[in-house]
């Protein structure tokens, strides 16, 4: 039983209004082929959860330029001027989340946790609307989980059962989002037979993965 599918099988899974997590940090570790499929299908009103909105022609930035997003939950938009422009024009809602908090909120969803207490953002506008806890002289914000309909992963290597390894800084948010979405689609640079990866080298176990395409 292989999880490797055809491009059209993936194409069928996208629709308007979905919440989509996308791996990558400034487009390093972003599954560009999967993003291109979304661009091609022209699905709209998406909520995207990802570290940043990439660049105008690269990464999640392609979805911004193509005006497919309703909301972006990200830590950084500074490398894609189009995001700021749409935000200022009221066309795109941007929720800025500290990068470490974004990682933990996604992890909470995947790990069945109701939230974490973090010191990050205390005393800043990030704390607005959030519960605060103080004990032993330290103050924390309660940050809650972020779930998605689909997670789009970029892996260096996948086996046919969905076990994944990543390369260097392309790992970033990919292993986290793989746990937090109902449907997990992987774009792998290389696909190998199930059983050919060492159980100790696997970063994302195949149990999280639903579909794989060659990237």
């Amino acid at each position: 039983m292989t999880k490797v599918v055809k491009r059209e099988d993936v194409y069928d899974k996208f629709c308007d209004g979905q919440i989509i997590m996308i791996g990558g940090f400034l487009a390093v570790g972003t599954p560009e082929v999967l993003v291109d499929i979304m661009v091609e299908k022209q699905i709209k009103d998406l909520t995207v959860i990802t570290n940043d909105t990439g660049f105008v022609g690269k990464g999640t930035g392609k979805l911004v330029v193509n005006k497919q997003l309703k909301k972006a939950i990200v830590s950084h938009i500074g490398t894609n001027q189009e995001t700021g422009k749409q935000m200022n024009a009221g066309e795109l809602e941007v929720e800025l989340v500290p990068q470490g908090t974004l990682a933990e909120r996604i992890r909470c969803a995947g790990a069945g946790l109701g939230g974490v207490l973090t010191p990050t953002g205390v005393g800043t506008i990030v704390e607005e609307g959030k519960e605060k806890f103080t004990y032993d002289g330290k103050t924390f914000l309660l940050e809650k989980p972020l779930f998605a309909d689909i997670a789009l992963i970029k892996a260096a290597k996948a086996d046919t059962g969905g076990n994944l390894v990543y390369r260097y800084s392309a790992r970033n948010f990919n292993p986290l989002i793989a746990m937090a979405a109902k449907l997990v689609i992987v774009e792998a640079e290389e696909i190998v037979e199930e059983g050919s990866l060492d159980p100790d080298e696997i970063i994302t176990p195949g149990i999280f993965v639903n579909m794989i395409i060659k990237g």
Partner: protein
């Protein structure tokens, strides 16, 4: 003539001790790595997911999967290790960084820092800055003393949205080396040829000026 970058970089480099794990922000802070004494080896973290950040690769030697937090091609030194973003920020938030060096738009005498947005003008997002400032054991600000228009950046109270509250430990500019204490900002060292009056004139916060002030260098 010695550039502000060199003056600042050299002074900050002296704050580290051998074996420290440090995160250097984009821009001026990155330069600090060039001025480390030979007997001090620090390990650099790159918040996009590794420790053992090395120099820029030779042209043609870039690896698409090895970039720093600014997206620029870098290298991973022998002994380096990669991890995901949750682990990267566990390192940052968990107090495992000896220091973070960051630029600032404004910093004030309570140790507040503003470096991530100018409402209505520039909203790039905080990226990892809020975690770095909340989590690192020492927060060191590396910046030119005044803004381009000459207005002060070291204030009584920040007016821009904060990155973190009461977390800044040291401020290093081309004019001097300052420590933020519960009493206020103490002027510890002055750059050669700079007087206490010079630096106070370019600073909105009232500096605490000890009897004797060392020369920065």
């Amino acid at each position: 003539m010695v550039s502000p970058k060199e003056i600042i970089g050299k002074r900050i480099a002296k704050l580290f001790k051998d074996g420290d794990l440090v995160n250097l922000g984009i821009g001026m802070p990155t330069a600090v790595a060039n001025y480390l004494p030979n007997d001090v080896k620090i390990t650099l973290q790159s918040e996009n997911g590794f420790v053992g950040l090395g120099p820029t690769p030779l042209e043609g030697q870039e690896d698409k999967d090895v970039v720093n937090a600014g997206g620029q091609p870098v290298t991973i030194l022998p002994g380096g290790a990669c991890f995901d973003s949750a682990m990267s920020f566990a390192i940052i938030r968990g107090g495992h960084l000896a220091a973070t060096v960051l630029g600032a738009l404004q910093v004030d005498e309570q140790g507040n820092l503003a470096n991530w947005m100018i409402p209505g003008k520039m909203v790039p997002g905080m990226g990892g800055a809020m975690d770095l400032v909340a989590g690192a054991r020492k927060v060191i600000i590396a910046m030119e003393h005044a803004a381009k228009d000459g207005s002060p950046k070291i204030l009584k109270q920040c007016t821009l949205p904060l990155t973190a509250s009461r977390e800044v430990d040291f401020i290093v500019t081309e004019l001097g080396f300052m420590e933020v204490t519960t009493e206020g900002i103490v002027l510890k060292e002055l750059a050669p040829g700079v007087t206490a009056e010079d630096i106070q004139a370019k600073t909105e916060a009232k500096l605490i000026i000890p009897q004797t002030i060392a020369v920065m260098g």
